[in-house]
Symmetry: C2
Subunit: 340 residues, 2 copies
DNA sequence: ATCGGCGACTAGCGCGCGCTAGCTACCACC
DNA sequence: GGTGGTAGCTAGCGCGCGCTAGTCGCCGAT
């Protein structure tokens, strides 16, 4: 092989040279720059050369010159990295892609690194599911990031977040419709998602009030530390027959504790989860849950990011995702599951 | 507020101006450029000014000038986005961070977008768990990415991948030690991870041979389509008492099917999973599994990426992660779980 | 007294791109 | 014939940084 030099990347200058035209013209053609008139012939020749040479604009140079990276960074909480999130991300990614943006996702790790991703990527927008804490906001500001969602300066009550009220309503209504009169809410212990948990719990309490049933206890529950077992004991003693869980993981912990305590599910205790994770279908008994339309949510996220990136107003946006109940054995099973 | 102009980002030139020194000097100080002698006083003044002004180098400019983005892109398969992966990623991320690199992770979505992430990010290295297909490799090459792991030009037999043989060995040995003489392997149906599934199955067959027990069937199994139920029926008929599952999800599907078929687990059928996902502990009965040391694996990934990025040889690297058994109810439970 | 060497620094190019400020040729119109 | 307008193009700056090729002054050795 006579040619062993590293094949230099094709640049716009290369195209200009082969076509016999200036670099500016190449730029105008490839970017369809408005306000520039290019003859049909030149345009075609440039396009052809670009395709033939396999030209790819250097993103670093584009970002430097344009001052925008066209990257959207989504920070995900590190706990619920499950379920329909995949669909959600895929849809958001595609919608952004169509608009010329790229979505980069990172799960927000507790172990802070020296160089957070927003510093390395120079994203145009950083989006989170929950509000960023002050340290993060300061770090982003220092990194020159001005577009942050949710806006750090705006306080949005989290129980008004899309879908929260509706999901809790479906959970509570389902249990009520099955005749349960005394309910409990099983929260997640993880402090990182504390406010979302709180929001769902409040919404459930509100809906219980609407339906005129008692929601006698809200309590954090975990599988590992025995708190689930304890909760089940207490709830039984208090006459609770239906449990609204923050999500499917928590629901599984409650069901597991109940079964191990010799109870029948759903005969003695009915439990409903949230998110319709794969676990919900897999579990024995399978878990009733609530599913939100991930495709819609993904598009919503993309739209939010785009508006922010392009400095268009986001205030008139209102969004209520389609939410529906998925009934399975843990609330409506005909055969109880328990220990033999 | 008199000042409403967007606060321009601080550049190295700003530092140079305030300190009264040239831009080059600033660069030398901040990068600790070898071969440059800078007086202690100047160095201190530059550092101080940088800190005071909150200077952050523009990554786009750095990437453009240096020709390297210091980004490592990790493409994850989109199926097993679960379990210890988080620890793994966190550790890899930290190790890379220490070396001045950033790890960006993307789950490899089936729905191809117009602009794959490696095109938008200009990563120095792209790493995948499995080999990339030819389209992807071509796309990366076109995007100017030369460092791809696993190397597209090198064929590595997947059953030699780190940990595969050892994990299967632990699974089979455990069931053998409990007295099971006829085993089956429950594979995952997902074609995207076909070769990894195949590798684990082969390793299990080999180990069964070593132990002199029969592994009578290898079959893809899923919860949704009834294939798990069918498999359990067939296995029972064939006298199988122990099942080695590809991972915990598959194990859960098998256990679920067994319980629903009126079998006792582990009394009639013992099942062991792989990966020690959260599901394994949560499930009822809880699932025995195999855990690989995610921290080690993460460091290994980081080291691999760094060597590739810095064009250091990777051939002498050999790595066998610590792997150990997690015994739970699905193989060694004292009380069987079943339908009441 | 001269020269080489070295410590401490600076001028300025190049990375690849977007884009402004032109410039030229051509045509329509008075 | 002059004037204005426009289609179609180009020269070249600026983005912020890394880094090479110097420059300058001082000190020790000849």
């Amino acid at each position: 092989m006579p040619e062993s030099a590293p094949p230099r990347r094709v640049t716009a200058a290369d195209i200009a040279r082969t076509v016999g035209v200036s670099r500016a013209t190449v730029g105008f053609v490839l970017n369809n720059t408005p306000g520039q008139t290019i003859s049909e012939g030149t345009r075609a020749r440039v396009m052809e050369a670009a395709a033939r040479l396999g030209y790819r604009p250097n993103k670093a140079a584009t970002a430097l010159a344009g001052g925008r990276s066209r990257i959207v960074l989504l920070m995900l909480p590190d706990w619920p990295a499950d379920f329909s999130v995949r669909t959600y991300l895929e849809e958001a990614s595609r919608a952004l892609d169509e608009a010329g943006y790229s979505l980069v996702t990172q799960t927000h790790s507790a172990a802070r690194v020296a160089r957070p991703l927003w510093e390395a990527l120079n994203p145009d927008v950083v989006i989170g599911w929950a509000r960023f804490d002050d340290d993060d906001v300061a770090s982003m500001r220092a990194a020159g990031i001005t577009r942050i969602v949710p806006r750090p300066d705006v306080q949005v009550p989290l129980d008004e977040a899309p879908g929260v009220a509706e999901g809790a309503r479906l959970q509570v209504d389902h249990l009520c419709d099955l005749g349960h009169r005394r309910l409990a809410f099983a929260a997640a212990a993880d402090p990182r998602i504390g406010d979302l948990v709180q929001a769902r719990a409040s919404a459930a309490e509100r809906q219980a009030g609407v339906r005129g049933v008692d929601l006698v206890d809200v309590r954090a529950v975990a599988h590992a530390d025995g708190s689930a077992a304890e909760a089940v004991r207490d709830w039984r003693a208090a006459g609770v027959t239906g449990v609204v869980a923050y999500n499917d993981d928590v629901a599984a912990a409650v069901v597991g504790a109940a079964v191990r305590a010799g109870l029948r599910v759903p005969g003695d205790l009915a439990v409903i989860g949230h998110d319709d994770s794969p676990l919900a279908a897999l579990f024995v008994p399978s878990l009733s849950s609530v599913r939100m339309d991930a495709v819609q949510a993904g598009r919503f996220l993309a739209e939010l990011a785009l508006r922010e990136a392009e400095d268009r107003p986001i205030s008139p946006m209102r969004y209520e995702p389609e939410t529906h109940l998925v009934v399975r054995e843990s609330t409506a099973g005909e055969t109880d599951v328990g220990i033999l």
